[in-house]
């Protein structure tokens, strides 16, 4: 069959709204508690490889070895995002996503940079954490990383 000139094809528009509540668990809850209460970042040392993992992981035997890391660290790689996807990320563009290895950690993790001009970002650059004024229990309790201040004597 074919469509007649006075007929239309049906395209039904809808959206899905499903509520979620994700349990962070004992380990991540402690991680966020340190940030909220002390403005300190803690990672865990893997009992098998001795590597300090950031974000922290649960140990198989339940005896985690907690290690304070950061707040300073080094940019291992980065990108500047200039294409807007408002439904997914409402942040004002451009934003800089950087892979940051905190001092004392053996793994890097992804976060955003602030207080920096996008064309000044370099791999290997030193940055430090800026903590959110109000903690919400997610990774944006570290609001962003900014260039580490270099004091000139």
């Amino acid at each position: 069959m074919s469509l007649q000139p006075d007929e239309e094809l049906v395209v039904y528009k809808s959206s899905m709204r499903i509520p979620y509540r994700w349990a962070a668990g004992l380990i991540a809850s402690k991680f966020y508690r340190h940030i909220a209460q002390e403005k300190k970042i803690y990672a865990t040392r893997c009992p098998k490889t001795q590597k300090v993992l950031m974000p922290p992981r649960k140990s198989p035997n339940g005896t985690e070895d907690w290690v304070e890391v950061g707040p300073g660290g080094e940019i291992k790689s980065f990108t500047v995002v200039r294409y807007p996807v408002p439904s997914l990320n409402p942040t004002t563009l451009p934003i800089v996503y950087a892979l940051i290895q905190l001092d004392g950690a053996d793994t890097a993790f992804v976060h955003q940079l602030g207080e920096i001009e996008t064309d000044k970002v370099k791999t290997g650059m030193r940055v430090t954490a800026v903590f959110a004024e109000k903690a919400a229990g997610n990774i944006l309790d570290i609001q962003y990383f900014k260039p580490e201040t270099v004091e000139i004597v």
């Binding site: 049906v10 039904y12 809808s14 899905m16 499903i18 509520p19 979620y20 509540r21 994700w22 349990a23 962070a24 668990g25 004992l26 380990i27 991540a28 992981r57 649960k58 198989p60």
Partner: protein, 381 residues
């Protein structure tokens, strides 16, 4: 036919309504660690991983990636299987295919779900045609309730019989440390709970649970090396069905019947009531434990109530059904059907502790989901 395959070990979390002390990979790891411990293996001994859960339930749809640390699949071949309620059985079937193909010797099968993290019916709705049944029917309870009404009408079976099956399962659950609802109930207490959807009362339905299950399968040679008493997999049969509920004949679980008949043929079973020693039936609602026994050819149509009322399916009966407590006691959906397979293997291996049925040589496990899909496993000593 493929190579011979056995289940050599399994592990489960202690299923409950909310596991806020662990995130998803951490919860999965508990089950994996327990399975490895029972097998006396480490992750280095595992050749491949198959994992499954319900889509949309936790809003994390690539669990093969997202849960890889807990699943132990880092730097291993791994794949995700999602087939609705049958997911856990499909995970087991896929792990079986891995070993039976001769390509893998040891495969870790994982099913998990954290129903506390979302609205299960909200997730299930996304399985239905978005412009037809999603607007009028979709959800977990409605389809089952419609079938229960048809069954009651066709065979003149009262709600009390369904309630008895639920009472018995939750009493069995008291023997199982991994079960979620361990309850001493009366038939009247079940009937006194409100209808969720007529004729199914609140306590006729399965709970929403958080939990994970892991099963380790091995090829024949490895199984004999690794395990003193493997649970051999004699038959794995899957049947899917039409998408829309109106195309499925009500009061007739044709996929379960077709899968069971095929499985009996493969396993050489001619009289299942005599030859099976225990069944772990995927019973999402109380009435299914009455009706679906008929499609397993354990009795004539409409006579499932006799098996229940006469105690044939009771823990001490001739053919115990769900000594673990079944789905009406524990339901972390993506794990639920895999738990049936794991429990059946524990019965064969003599590892079921307080819920152990005496002298189990042959066990059946089923998985149910989607639009009346079914998967049937037969295991033997």
């Amino acid at each position: 036919m493929g190579e011979r395959v056995a289940i050599i070990a399994s592990g489960q979390t202690n299923h409950c309504s909310k596991r806020t002390d662990v995130n998803i990979p951490e919860m999965i790891q508990e089950a994996v660690d327990r399975a490895l411990l029972q097998a006396n293996l480490t992750l280095d001994d595992i050749d491949a991983v198959v994992i499954g859960n319900m889509e949309h339930f936790e809003g994390i749809n690539l669990s093969d990636m997202w849960a890889s640390e807990g699943a132990g699949s880092v730097m291993k071949p791994a794949m995700k299987i999602a087939t609705g309620g049958t997911t856990g059985a499909s995970v087991a079937a896929c792990a079986y295919y891995h070993c039976a193909s001769g390509l893998f010797d040891t495969v870790l099968a994982i099913g998990w779900e954290k129903l506390s993290e979302s609205d299960p019916t909200g997730g299930i709705i996304t399985a239905f045609d978005p412009i037809v049944e999603r607007l009028t029917l979709a959800g977990a309870v409605g389809g089952l309730a419609i079938e229960a009404t048809a069954y009651m009408k066709t065979y003149d079976v009262p709600e009390e019989v369904f309630a008895l099956a639920a009472v018995r399962s939750r009493k069995n659950a008291k023997r199982n440390p991994h079960a979620h609802l361990k309850l001493d109930l009366t038939v009247q207490q079940v009937l006194d709970t409100p209808y969720i959807a007529y004729p199914l009362h609140y306590l006729d339905m399965c709970p929403a649970s958080d939990g994970a299950c892991a099963v380790i399968m091995a090829s024949e040679k490895r199984a004999k090396d690794l395990c003193p008493k493997p649970a051999w997999i004699d038959a794995v049969v899957c049947r899917h069905n039409h998408a829309w509920i109106g195309d499925i004949s009500f009061g007739k679980n044709s996929t379960l019947e077709s899968a069971a008949v095929e499985a009996y043929k493969i396993a050489g079973i001619t009289n299942p009531l005599e030859e099976l020693n225990v069944i772990e039936l995927y019973d999402p609602a109380s009435y299914t434990q009455v009706s679906w026994l008929e499609y397993l050819h354990l009795c004539e149509m409409g006579q499932g109530r006799r098996l229940v009322e006469d105690g044939v399916t009771a823990f001490e009966g001739k053919l115990p059904v769900n000594p673990s407590g079944g789905v009406v006691s524990t339901n972390p959906i993506g794990a639920t059907a895999l738990i049936r397979v794991a429990e059946a293997s524990l019965q064969i291996q003599g590892r079921a502790d307080e819920r152990q049925v005496d002298g189990v040589q042959r066990a059946m496990a089923t998985g149910f989901g989607g639009s009346y899909w079914n998967e049937v496993f037969i295991l033997s000593a």
